[in-house]
Symmetry: C2
Subunit: 283 residues, 2 copies
């Protein structure tokens, strides 16, 4: 495994791989790896000849009051985990290398980014699509892998790749959970022991929603009210949003039908966590 | 010479060229070709193995009151001219192929686009950078060619390619002029016989500015006043803007020094024309 920390070195390697006819898989991450990230690397190493994992805590996707500074970082630990999962290259450029003085180009997906996390985190997705566009240009992957946990991000990036004719296949892999159901996230490290227990309310309320749907409920408002009720019952939890939207256009649905994304963001203490589930074949 | 009118067919050809190790030169145009465009094709055919000329009148770079509908088009004539200049492929996709229903991704260079033509044509450069980003993704050129006549466009596209790590060399080629000095433009076709004569005031006022600078003038205000005076003396002419800016950051300079771009846009009757000159080595 090789660690590459500048764009020119990464570009040189990519040129060599392309000349050799090797396919490239890219797993973009912000590091502090968990099983979710590693499952993407394992998938990539099944499908492609060379697996590149990027590790870059991207400042432009954080709001001014968000956790860019304190976001957990541990490159050494990440290197070991990524290697054991099958990554061939870790690409970890510096912030100055990615955004030199005078940087001014941004990629924005305009329609899918106004709701859900886009409403709570203005400018977040513009930061995400810009950094991913840059990583796509540098690494030129055949396939890139993203986790279903960040459902809106996955849909937005798919749309960007398609709209800009990038010719890159975007694969969305299932959310990986702890044994008790908590979706894996680098931000789980922020949680105190009590908060860690309280955080189960995210997955819990999604399971409650699924149950209601199984029992025939199709009214969005009622399902969301049940989710809100469960979140309210946990003292350290504060709901940011809970929405039921179409998986293609991310528009809110009053009545569930077809394929729906149920997504929520909840503050547990000061930590903002997200989770979601997709329900299919609704009539 | 081959005419390719869909994105998938173009992508397939590009894959073949890349496998064969051929370098690709791209000349993006809106068609209705003149010597300016053809000079770019000739340059491309000197430097690269395969020369692709795109012909696409890009709706999203036109304002609602601009000339998208009436912009001159003549693909048959263009094919002959492009072939004779050395183009191997004309890529002329449809608007629906480039912007299918639900299209929503835009590339924007934020700092260089607020002044000059960006101020008179809000959204214009966002349309330009978006379509060029798409063409770059589809054609994956090694080198792409643009004319100095659209000075701000050239600088903005260079910035985009650099910021997004596209790995594409942007070559800016000199403005090609008619014998009497008028910069070649597809829009010159709009001019009546009288307007055609009046349009000489663009190049004329730039030459006047150059003369003043040669004579030692370094005060921006005085040079611009002289340009304004010349434009005012032509009845069919109305100045849109005349600016003297730094060629790197496009910021207005009060006092000329180093390398300066003198750019202007002038309405001749209803036709908006642009022209510019670069003066170097100013002390």
């Amino acid at each position: 495994m090789k660690v590459v920390d500048t764009i020119p070195r990464m570009s040189t390697l990519v040129k060599i791989f392309k000349k050799e006819g090797k396919s490239i898989g890219l797993v973009p991450t912000m590091g502090y790896l968990h099983e979710g990230h590693l499952s993407l690397v394992r998938a990539a190493s099944k499908h492609t000849d060379v697996v590149v994992m990027s590790i870059f805590v991207n400042p432009i996707q954080f709001g001014p009051k968000e956790d860019f500074e304190k976001y957990p970082r541990d490159l050494k630990r990440d290197e070991e985990l990524a290697t054991s999962a099958g990554a061939d290259i870790i690409f970890s450029p510096s912030v100055n290398n990615m955004y030199p003085a005078g940087y001014s180009t941004y990629v924005n997906v305009e329609t899918l980014t106004s709701g859900l996390c886009g409403a709570s985190r203005p400018g977040h997705f513009k930061g995400v699509t810009t950094v991913v566009a840059k990583l796509f240009e540098i690494v030129r992957p055949d396939i890139s892998y993203f986790g279903q946990k960040d459902a809106q991000q996955a849909i937005v990036i798919k749309k960007m790749a398609e709209d800009l004719n990038m010719g890159i296949e975007i694969k969305i892999m299932p959310t990986i959970r702890e044994k008790d159901g908590l979706a894996m996230s680098s931000r789980n490290i922020y949680l105190s022991e009590d908060e860690r227990k309280d955080a189960l309310v995210l997955h819990g309320s999604l399971m409650k929603a699924e149950e209601m749907i199984k029992s025939g409920e199709r009214e969005s408002r009622k399902i969301i009210r049940a989710i809100e009720g469960m979140i309210k019952s946990v003292p350290s939890a504060r709901l940011d949003y809970a929405s039921i939207v179409d998986t293609v256009n991310l528009k809110e649905a009053k009545v569930l039908s077809g394929e729906m994304l149920i997504a929520l963001a909840v503050f547990i203490g000061k930590t903002r966590l997200i989770d979601n589930t997709i329900v299919k074949g609704l009539k």
